[in-house]
Amino acid sequence: MKLSIGKWVLPVYTALALLILMIPIGYTFVYSFNDSLKSNITWRGFTFDKWLNVCNVQNGAVCEAFGNSIFIAVVSTIVATTLGTMIAIAMVRYRFKFRSQLSLFLFLPMATPEVVLGAGLAAQFLSVGVPKDMTTIILAHTMFSISFVVVAVKARVATLDPALEEAGRDLYGSALQVFMRITFPLLLPGILAAALLSFALSFDDFIITNFNSGNVSTFPKYIWVSAARGIPAEANVVASAVFILALVIVVTVQVSGAARAKRLAKMN
């Protein structure tokens, strides 16, 4: 039989690649049900205990770290998304001095290695005498998230026809009404995407956080620290829960989107 690339090689390769990508996730999920003792490396039997008592080990260190990560991610996302959206609108709609230089400055945090960025910030906080705590983490996360928000929202603003806002003004809408009823709803998909990205970046961040967190624990930091002496199964529980939650959100959005497309197609 002739070996057809399209028929055999590509599907097999794709399946293998997906399998390799999925193995760590599957491993994490399965081992969240492991009846482990101190380390979670060997399989010792199935249990729901870790899921039910996730906050009860090590005085709730896993949950505390998780809570901190969520708090930091929420606050830095709100700040970064608000500021980033304002910057994006200004950069597309207005011509001002140093506009192109601003683009470069916004690009820098994305291009700079995180180690450099984290160390630089840490040195700054030290020399200014700001103690490292939750606030410094939030500041650091907001800083690098803004760049991503601006890029994501800018693309959306660029596709927004200025005539729509003019029509809003022409139809007796004040500046605030035009923003709230026309500009904002039309930018919302871009803003939401930017916020999601910002949240994920913040929740996930280890390097910059590690430099600027003092003794505040975040979820990635907790995993890193405990990896040295065996990650507890509770960490797997949290990781699995986050993964499942993300999966549910993605599937819901996809299904509702498909349903809407179907409805629109029917109306026409």
């Binding site: 011509r95 001002f96 001095k97 506009r99 026809d161 005539a163 729509l164 003019e166 029509a167 809003g168 003004r169 022409d170 139809l171 007796y172 809408g173 004040s174 009404q177 009823r181 026309i182 709803p185 039309l186 629109l264 109306m267 026409n268």
Partner: protein
């Protein structure tokens, strides 16, 4: 006139000494214009002539560099766009994509806190025969339907003045004709003042009571469509509004009723009351459909101008009429439109012909013929302004 009440009728629009300069160029130079209430007024001109800028100034989307804008006698120059009793039908329609057709139409009413916005929106949607599509999104409608929604969204507010920014430009020819008639009917029904900006001379002539022809930020000529067509004042108007055959030469004879111009040895006579200038070098013209072709030299007649002999260099058939291009030595190429009253044409390419027209059909211009306006750069004022702003940044 405030925005918290519906306009009882259309209002006069007065533009007094308007100048509009963008960085690096002047869009409008000393524009004075009065549009009487209840009229259908067309601003006609090529791209970049300042007509869209004029519209945006009236809408309050741009501020004039100098001059005043008065609506119904009230100075609105310093009012913001949303405070003016004016609505616009945008070239791109600018329908809000995230709202239904009904909500689009009710938008202005809601902002002004009018009673029963949805009932009024349904009413006006019935007027444009789209009420059955009220719950759709704009992007689910065809171009013609979107255009009617844009119109409904503007007229539901009963503005004292309705601005139309080339709203029919995106429609195909047949739909455009239909919409032109509908717009005209609606304007007569609701009695509003319409200010219509267009570069389509046929559209302007079909729809408007009065046309102002704009060129390079100035009004070249203003008047009823027929008046502008039959007696253009400048070569720009003569060529932008339809086509013209223009000849330039010295005035060689004057009587109490007419003047004669020498065009390379051929004498052309124009009635004195149809000539804007009567001495020196002047440009005279005649519309192509007023010309008659002859295969033999016509007998002398004091009421008829004759040119020729010339040679037919092109014949193009276009259904109702045939266009001939005749090369007359010394006078250039003449365009002749002939109705297709019989099957086929008895004049062919390379035939020797004479061209004649009744003296009363000629006209004398106020200026020399310039380059044909159709070759002006195809940019609108906003594009030019944006470019200048970009270069300045």
């Amino acid at each position: 006139m405030g925005i918290d009440t519906f306009a009882e009728s259309g209002a006069d629009l007065e533009l007094v000494g308007i100048h509009k300069r963008f960085p690096g160029f002047t869009a409008i130079e000393d524009l004075n214009l009065t549009i009487p209430a209840g009229s259908f007024f067309a601003l006609l001109g090529p791209s970049g002539c300042g007509k869209t800028t004029t519209l945006r100034l009236v809408a309050g989307l741009e501020a004039p560099t100098a001059g005043r804008i008065l609506i119904g006698g009230k100075d609105v120059t310093d009012q913001k766009s949303f405070q003016r009793p004016v609505n616009t039908v945008f070239q791109s329609y600018a329908l809000f994509p995230h709202m239904t057709v009904l909500e689009n139409v009710a938008f202005g009413l809601r902002r002004r806190k009018m009673a029963d916005p949805l009932d009024k929106a349904h009413e006006v949607l019935s007027l444009v025969e789209l009420d059955h599509l009220a719950s759709r999104r704009p992007q689910q409608l065809s171009g013609g339907q979107q255009q009617r929604v844009a119109l409904a969204r503007a007229i539901v507010n009963r503005p004292a003045l309705l601005l139309l920014d080339e709203p029919l430009g995106a429609l195909d020819l047949k739909l455009r004709r239909q919409m032109q008639l509908e717009l005209k009917t609606i304007q007569e029904d609701v009695g509003l003042t319409f200010l219509h900006v267009t570069h389509d001379q046929e559209e302007a002539m079909t729809m408007a009571d009065t046309i102002a022809v704009m060129n390079k930020g100035r009004i070249e000529q203003m008047g009823a469509p027929q008046e502008l067509y039959e007696l253009p004042r400048t070569s720009f108007v003569a060529n932008f509004l339809g086509q013209s055959n223009l000849f330039t030469g010295p005035v060689v004879g004057t009587t109490s009723t007419s003047i004669s111009v020498d065009i390379s040895g051929q004498k052309i006579t124009v009635p004195i009351d149809r000539a804007h200038r009567t001495t020196g070098e002047i440009t005279v013209g005649v519309r192509p459909e007023k010309l008659t072709l002859h295969s033999t030299e016509p007998a002398h007649n004091p009421d008829v101008n004759v040119m020729g002999p010339g040679r037919v260099i092109d014949v193009s058939f276009s259904g109702v009429s045939t266009q001939y291009l005749v090369d007359v030595p010394g006078a250039g190429n003449l365009i002749v439109f002939a109705q297709n009253m019989t099957f086929g044409s008895d004049v062919r390419e390379d035939d020797k012909v004479w061209v004649s027209w009744t003296i009363g059909h000629g006209f004398g211009l106020d200026d020399e013929p310039a380059d044909a306006p159709r070759f002006s750069p195809d940019l609108d004022t906003r594009t030019i302004a944006a470019q200048h702003r970009l270069e300045g940044a």
